[in-house]
């Protein structure tokens, strides 16, 4: 039998202050990056604008493309290599021209340059201002609905305290993922949002497993004198191999998507990849630890023990 952990007994909860500090640093770094870069970089899904993806027969130089586009007054577009030295995307903000106009002008400009003429326009996307704005609003609703549903579910299956702690942990994962997106200069797109929502639903799973174990243990026999903190730590240790193994298989899937999934899926795969890692970490260190601190605080206030996450 291969075992990842043999009777693990790490003092996770005892080191929770370090974890809080670490999380705070991660989130702070992400937030600083976002603020320094003027907010998240919205993809055209949310910001609106036009995107043209072109594949050239020969790898061109970016300056060459820019010079060519400048002849049709599109010289200030954002031009990026896209997964392959022959493949480029050209982005234009809203208002420059209609998608029709842009793709016609791009085509004309490229055709006018002998070294760029052998090219194929593979994708054109245009999102108008109203659609982008609608999607922004809907995205916020979707994330909030996701969080509320998870909160209600856990509050219903366990208790409110556990639900709130789980949500804080999940929200932590969302923040860390967004920070990672900003640090790596990736765009926030519809597929990234889909990845975030998936993380919201998935990352809470390990937390449920740990809570469930805690409840089961407390229902059986609690050694005398064991504090709530120790009980939580035991539950996390007992479910540690599960937490890590389940995350590992999903981690494999996301890593493969990141490597082989192609450029179009890359940002989504990256978000899932980061989310799975931070989701596992936050189960151990944030969700469990918060319930302990909250319970301790309540007990300290009331001066009598109170059960958390232990109601059947």
């Amino acid at each position: 039998m291969i075992q990842l952990f043999v009777n693990p007994n790490y003092n996770f909860i005892g080191r929770r202050r370090w974890a809080y500090i670490l999380s705070a640093i991660f989130i702070a770094v992400g937030l600083v990056s976002m603020v320094a870069k003027g907010g998240l970089r919205y993809d055209i899904d949310f910001a609106g604008g036009t995107l043209v993806q072109v594949r050239f027969a020969e790898p061109p130089r970016i300056e060459k493309i820019r010079a060519s586009l400048a002849t049709v007054q599109l010289g200030d577009s954002i031009i990026q290599e896209f997964g392959d030295p022959r493949e480029f995307i050209i982005r234009l903000p809203l208002g420059a021209a209609t998608a029709e106009e842009v793709s016609r002008r791009v085509q004309g400009a490229l055709a006018g340059d002998a070294s760029l003429a052998k090219s194929e326009i593979r994708r054109v996307e245009f999102v108008g201002p109203q659609v982008g704005k609608d999607l922004q609003l809907q995205a916020v609703y979707a994330v909030l609905t996701g969080l509320v549903c998870i909160l209600l579910y856990i509050a219903f299956r366990f208790d409110l305290k556990g639900g709130v702690a789980a949500i804080v942990a999940v929200f932590h994962d969302v923040l860390v993922s967004l920070g990672a997106l900003s640090l790596t200069n990736r765009d926030f797109s519809l597929t990234v949002l889909a990845a975030l929502l998936t993380i919201i639903g998935y990352s809470v799973n390990d937390t449920i497993v740990a809570y469930d174990r805690l409840r089961e243990n407390r229902g059986k026999f609690v050694p005398k004198g064991q504090t709530f903190e120790q009980q939580m730590n035991t539950a996390i240790n007992q479910t540690l191999s599960r937490t890590v193994l389940t995350a590992l298989t999903v981690f494999f899937s996301t890593a493969i998507l990141l490597v082989f999934g192609g450029k179009v899926l890359e940002d989504m795969a990256f978000t899932l990849f980061v989310g799975v890692i931070t989701g596992t970490y936050s189960t151990v260190y944030i969700a469990g630890a918060l319930v302990v601190d909250w319970t301790n605080w309540v007990e300290g206030k009331l001066g009598k023990p109170k059960k958390a996450v232990a109601k059947a």
């Binding site: 039998m1 291969i2 594949r55 209609t98 998608a99 029709e100 016609r104 194929e120 593979r122 994708r123 054109v124 996307e125 245009f126 999102v127 108008g128 109203q130 659609v131 995205a139 609703y141 979707a142 609905t145 996701g146 549903c149 998870i150 579910y153 299956r157 519809l190 597929t191 949002l193 889909a194 929502l197 998936t198 919201i200 639903g201 998935y202 809470v204 799973n205 449920i208 497993v209 469930d212 007992q238 599960r242 193994l245 389940t246 590992l248 298989t249 999903v250 981690f251 494999f252 899937s253 996301t254 493969i256 998507l257 082989f260 999934g261 192609g262 179009v264 899926l265 989504m268 899932l272």
Partner: protein, 518 residues
């Protein structure tokens, strides 16, 4: 073998055979999204207020006619805003007659009446305005569907989205510019007389009678693509529109070798009006106007009784064909604007499919190997379950006609990693039970039983978020939500029910099970 085992075997057999049945004719069992097969996705916004405006304009025109017939002189009649007609009488004496006439316009309510000054306003009721806006979208949708059908696109999707949007998906269309021109054209065909009393130079200088306007003919040079605009002074009054048209056909243009024209034929009403108009205006120039652009302005030599006309404009065969289509399908009641457009070429779609398949296979292989390595025979059981899971996922998508998109492929790859989570939860529990000294069979029994609630809980949270995503998302993201949802739902069966069955088959019959390979 106990009876329950037979029943469970039968359930699995039904599921497997059912899945295979849905997949059986293997030609394209699954709909591919536009991002995979290439095509155009368009969201059009219908400018419904323009429909209300034009209806109000028409009512104002009618009202003016009715009042004039009754000999009531007007100082002013004009549309204000979207749906208000302001009327100002030349003399307040005619007030009561005016009230009689306006009461016939039932869509409007009288407001701001000022008898002394002879002023009143006719306001369209809010309900009428809403009705007109709704009509504009519904008719627009029908017209566009008609055009697309005539254009010939396999399996187009044309649906209403929200109150004033139309979603159009055209898979496999090679020439997006042409398709968009065909769909987005208002195609309002109008016949108007030229104003031969106002010289063009004078009109361009701004000295234009109220009843006239300047419109242009756009001549595009085929080689240089340079556009030349030729101005015409046209009377505003529309004599006839394309609404009275019955036929529109492509013909070779006799005056321009290699060029094409569109011949049109009016219905009975149109033929009568056309006959009258041409009779009254012999010697004048009649402008043929499409969407505000003059196409030609031939001289009327005599009364034209047959209700036929041609539209010339140096068309290529494709342009002429598309023009004939839009004329036959009719004009959009209101102009549309493109709010969102996503065009994917077929080569990009093919690349995406290839990369997606690689990702799914690689994901399956690595998870497969890992499970086998870590859990041995039990891992193999999990892997067989994983295979069943994928089979069910694909069969469900085929059965329900769900659309597979590129993010949907990512969803499948992700499902592979998540589906075995159920097995891991169960196996870890079984190991624990074994560790406390249970016999293999009771450990398996306890493992499955105790892991059940957890399996349900963990599925529930992801399924809920998948549902939220489905409700939120459009196209590609929706595809992701679908494959995630279906894949996870199927894993409840394959990773729990089916694995359990395999365990029972393997370890259940033999009385002595020394150990479990887990």
């Amino acid at each position: 073998m106990p009876r329950r085992l037979w029943a469970r075997l039968a359930v699995v057999a039904v599921v497997v055979l059912g899945s295979l049945w849905f997949l059986y004719p293997p030609k394209k069992p699954i709909n591919l999204g536009l991002d995979l097969q290439g095509g155009i996705h368009l969201v059009l916004g219908v400018e419904t207020h323009k429909h209300v405006q034009s209806q109000t304009d028409r009512a104002a025109e009618d009202l003016k006619g009715s009042l004039e017939r009754k000999g009531i002189a007007l100082k002013r009649i004009a549309r204000e805003g979207e749906a208000v007609i302001a009327v100002e009488l030349a003399s307040p004496q005619t007030w009561n007659d005016v009230l009689t006439v306006t009461s016939e316009f039932q869509r409007f309510e009288r407001r701001d009446e000022d008898q002394a000054a002879g002023r009143l306003k006719l306001v369209m009721s809010e309900r009428q305005v809403q009705q007109l806006r709704d009509d504009a979208v519904r008719q627009g949708l029908e017209t566009i569907r008609n055009r697309v059908d005539q254009f010939g696109v396999a399996e187009p999707t044309i649906t209403r989205q929200g109150t004033d949007r139309i979603l159009i998906q055209l898979p496999g269309v090679q020439d997006p510019a042409r398709a968009k021109a065909l769909i987005g054209k208002t195609a309002l065909l109008e016949f108007k007389l030229l104003d031969d009393r106002t010289p063009v130079e004078q009109a361009l200088a701004g000295q234009l009678p109220d009843a006239s306007e300047v419109l242009y003919r756009r001549d595009v040079d085929r080689q240089t693509k340079a556009e030349r605009k030729v101005p015409y002074v046209v009377q505003k009054r529309t004599l006839l529109t394309g609404a009275e048209l019955t036929r529109a056909e492509v013909q070779a243009d006799p005056n321009s070798p290699g060029g094409w024209q569109v011949s049109i034929e009016f219905n009975a009403t149109g033929t009568r009006i056309f006959g009258e108009v041409t009779e009254q205006s012999v010697g004048k120039l009649l402008a043929i106007i499409l969407d505000g652009n003059v196409y030609s302005a031939p001289r009327i030599n005599e009364r034209i009784p047959g209700g036929r006309a041609v539209i010339t404009g140096q068309f290529t065969i494709e342009e002429a064909r598309d023009l004939a289509i839009v004329l036959r399908a009719g004009a959009l009641p209101a102009p549309v604007v493109i709010l969102e457009e996503r065009t994917v070429g077929p080569s990009l779609g093919a690349d995406s499919i290839r990369q997606g398949l690689i990702a799914i296979s690689a994901s399956a292989v690595i998870v497969f190997v890992f499970m086998l390595f870590y859990y041995r025979l039990s891992g193999l059981i999990a892997n067989v379950g994983l295979g069943l899971n994928l089979l069910m996922l694909i069969a469900c998508m085929a059965a329900f006609g769900a659309t597979l998109t590129l993010p949907g492929i990512a969803g499948i790859a992700l499902t592979i990693g998540m589906a075995v989570d159920t097995n891991i939860l169960i196996f870890e529990r079984i190991r624990e039970e074994l560790k406390v000294g249970k016999t293999p069979r009771s450990a398996i029994e306890a493992g499955f039983r105790r892991a059940f609630t957890i399996v349900v809980d963990t599925h529930a949270t992801v399924l809920v978020t998948a549902m939220i995503l489905y409700n939120f998302g459009t196209g590609p993201v929706r595809g992701f939500a679908v494959s995630l949802f279906v894949g996870l739902a199927a894993s409840l069966f394959s990773a729990y029910f089916f694995s359990r069955l395999l365990f029972d088959l393997l370890y259940g019959r033999r009385q002595k099970v020394a150990q479990v390979s887990i």
